[in-house]
């Protein structure tokens, strides 16, 4: 067996390789379920029945797709420029904090409250990410470590606020802030938790960023920075400015996801682990599955949304710990990056 380099793999090939990698991931994850004591087929059947084949489950899938979509499109762009932002979790939390600050303490006309919350959330997420980008550019600090550490810090920021200065008047036992006024709540599809304005925002962002990447000069510069930093510098592209811009976009998008979660569902600032349940990490897979195309996130976000919602079903239905989602995420990501060798090379069988 020999590997022959394939410089320009077709989209068709990318699709089959991706699907193959996912298939292998499902088999391996199934093996781990079996080791835990749950039959893989039973697990997958339970997941499917509780998500795609159940009206309530379906809206859970959609609800979880929204933050994954917003974070995923941003990360797709970031990974494409080799900025490995693993801190979407923290950026989401900071977005939620800033939006909650506006909702709780800034008196505005009711029609302006929600827009102001979205703007504040985007700024909060963007700045949290900017710190890591600035350190990367100025001091060559690895952004994976800084964004990851900032996740932990963001968690403590939220806990401090809802346990201290922002603690709600009616909060007993649990910690959370006061409830937001009705003007600071995002409308939902009646009878569900699907805050549709945020969903539309995500779809718009996916298409807009795809356009930016493929059809504009700035997008061209981004692609060059990601594919060949040396050439970018030679061509006079301001690499550091592009990376900073990308960081602001990816962090801002994660911040928007945070706004959606608190203004669309919880209507108050709540504990970090309930607020996010790992969207930041799951979105890494959403972005990796999309192979660098923001628009493809429109497909991969619902897919991982199904897996997140399915994890919940397994938790309740089969009494499995919440770590099942981590198993899925880890195996899926490993299979995806391992399969890239098949994307970049052709296998020749010869003696």
């Amino acid at each position: 067996m020999r590997l022959v380099p394939e410089p320009n793999p077709s989209r068709y090939r990318a699709l089959w390789v991706t699907l193959g990698a996912m298939g292998v991931a499902f088999v391996i994850a199934g093996g781990i379920f079996w080791a835990y004591g749950v039959g893989p087929l039973e697990a997958y059947r339970t997941m499917l029945e509780g998500t795609l084949f159940d009206p309530r489950g379906l809206q859970e899938v959609l609800r979880r797709t929204i933050p994954l979509l917003l974070i995923g499109v941003g990360l797709t762009l970031a990974f494409r420029t080799q900025f490995f932002n693993i801190g979407a979790e923290g950026q989401l939390l900071l977005g939620a904090v800033c939006a909650a600050g506006v909702a709780l303490f800034v008196p505005l006309l009711p029609s302006l409250t929600l827009p102001a919350m979205f703007v504040a959330g985007a700024i909060g997420g963007a700045l949290w990410c900017w710190v890591a980008a600035w350190l990367k550019i100025r001091l060559r600090v690895n952004e994976i470590l800084t964004t990851l550490m900032l996740n932990y810090v963001a968690q403590y920021v939220v806990i401090y606020l809802i346990n201290g200065p922002w603690k709600g008047k009616d909060a007993r036992g649990y910690i959370y802030s006061d409830q937001f006024a009705p003007g600071a709540q995002i409308p939902v599809i009646p009878g569900t938790n699907v805050h549709w304005p945020t969903l539309l925002l995500g779809i718009f962002l996916a298409l807009a960023l795809q356009f930016l990447l493929e059809r504009t000069t700035l997008g061209y510069a981004m692609r060059v920075v990601g594919e060949n930093p040396g050439a970018a510098r030679y061509a006079g592209i301001a690499t550091s400015r592009i990376v900073l811009l990308i960081a602001l976009i990816t962090g801002g998008a994660a911040g928007l996801a945070g706004v959606g979660e608190i203004a669309g569902i919880h209507h108050r600032l709540i504990e970090p682990l309930q607020l996010s349940s790992g969207y930041g990490f799951t979105a890494v897979i959403v972005a990796w599955l999309a192979r660098g195309n923001p628009a493809v996130v429109l497909l991969t976000a619902p897919l991982m949304g199904t897996i997140l919602a399915g994890g919940d079903v397994l938790k309740v239905g089969l009494n499995m710990p919440f770590r099942v989602v981590d198993v899925f995420s880890g195996v899926m990501l490993l299979c995806l990056i391992a399969s890239e060798v098949l994307l970049r090379n052709r296998v020749r069988w010869e003696r």
Binding site: Y36, N142, F322, L334
Partner: protein, 290 residues
């Protein structure tokens, strides 16, 4: 005086898993492979160690066997990373991240049945701490003064040249990554067997990530890792010691280790420390390329 002595011994104890894990990471990074999966490998090691200790004698257990199992589990997990990044030449950073998720996931899932079970024999911490320091000294000597150390470093600095000299680059990298996994597993076993003889999900509590950062902080030097880990150990001690003592909110102390990691990475960058990194760190090697 007692207070200072107490702080120092606690710092040593908190620092022991950090030192063990970062020594492993230093070795695999010196051979050119970054493995961000330390947190996951620690979790798997902690579980394997606890499971074997519990299983081999109902709350009493065979310590040596448990430690071996933890190291084997860490090594096994690290081989996933080795295969994906060395043989398939995939992105080392993403693979390590995925390994962390997988390790935490598998440990949390399979460890559920061990949650809340007691181990009655708590081994003393000091031998582990002294052993870790001894190992650090030994590794420092090995890297700087032996042929094996030279081989390892050359694979991390210039794999093409090492290859031309007849060194099996991929073999050395596999071995180095395996060593990193064994040490992370051992660090996990320290947590679940010695430090707090029990199993809880998430008991690694970010220590693996701090160990990864520590490697950069100490400039890939096993000798300096001794002091780096004691320093972070002291920070952990202060986090618990100062809680509720001052007017400062506890959340500030809890986030200190993470803030400090960022700060020391920034300082290392300012000092140009990252220039100490092995030349080929993070880059896959393929014969005949460039």
């Amino acid at each position: 005086m007692d207070e200072i002595l107490n702080a120092f011994t606690r710092a040593l104890s908190f620092g022991t898993p950090l030192l063990l894990a970062s020594l492993g990471a230093i070795v695999n990074e010196r051979a050119g492979v970054v493995n961000l999966g330390v947190e996951g490998m620690m979790a798997v090691g902690a579980l394997a160690g606890f499971a074997v200790a519990y299983g081999s004698g109902a709350g009493d257990g065979n310590l040596a066997l448990a430690i071996l199992a933890a190291m084997a589990a860490g090594t096994l997990a690290s081989m996933i990373h080795a295969f994906v990044t060395i043989t398939l030449r995939a992105n080392q950073f993403v693979s390590g991240l995925a390994l962390s998720m997988l390790g935490l996931g598998v440990a949390g899932l399979l460890g559920k049945r061990f949650e809340g079970l007691p181990l009655f024999n708590q081994p003393p911490e000091l031998p582990f701490t002294l052993g870790a320091i001894g190992l650090a000294l030994g590794l420092a000597l090995l890297l700087d003064a032996t042929h094996l150390g030279l081989v390892l470093r050359s694979v991390g600095e210039n794999p093409a040249a090492a290859d031309a000299l007849g060194i099996n680059v991929l073999g050395v990298r596999y071995a180095a990554v395996g060593f990193g996994g064994a040490m992370a597993g051992l660090a996990g076993a320290f947590l679940s067997l010695v430090y707090r003889p029990s199993w809880t999900d998430g008991m690694t509590a970010g220590l693996g990530w701090i160990a990864v950062a520590l490697v950069i902080f100490v400039g890939w030097s096993p000798f300096r890792a001794i002091f780096g880990s004691i320093f972070f150990g002291l920070l952990y001690y202060l986090q618990f010691r100062l809680q509720g003592q001052s007017g400062v909110p506890t959340e500030v102390f809890a986030s200190l280790p993470y803030l400090l990691v960022i700060l020391v990475l920034a300082l290392s960058g300012l000092r140009g420390q990252q220039g100490n990194a092995p030349e080929s760190l993070g880059k896959p090697y393929q014969r005949g390329e460039r």
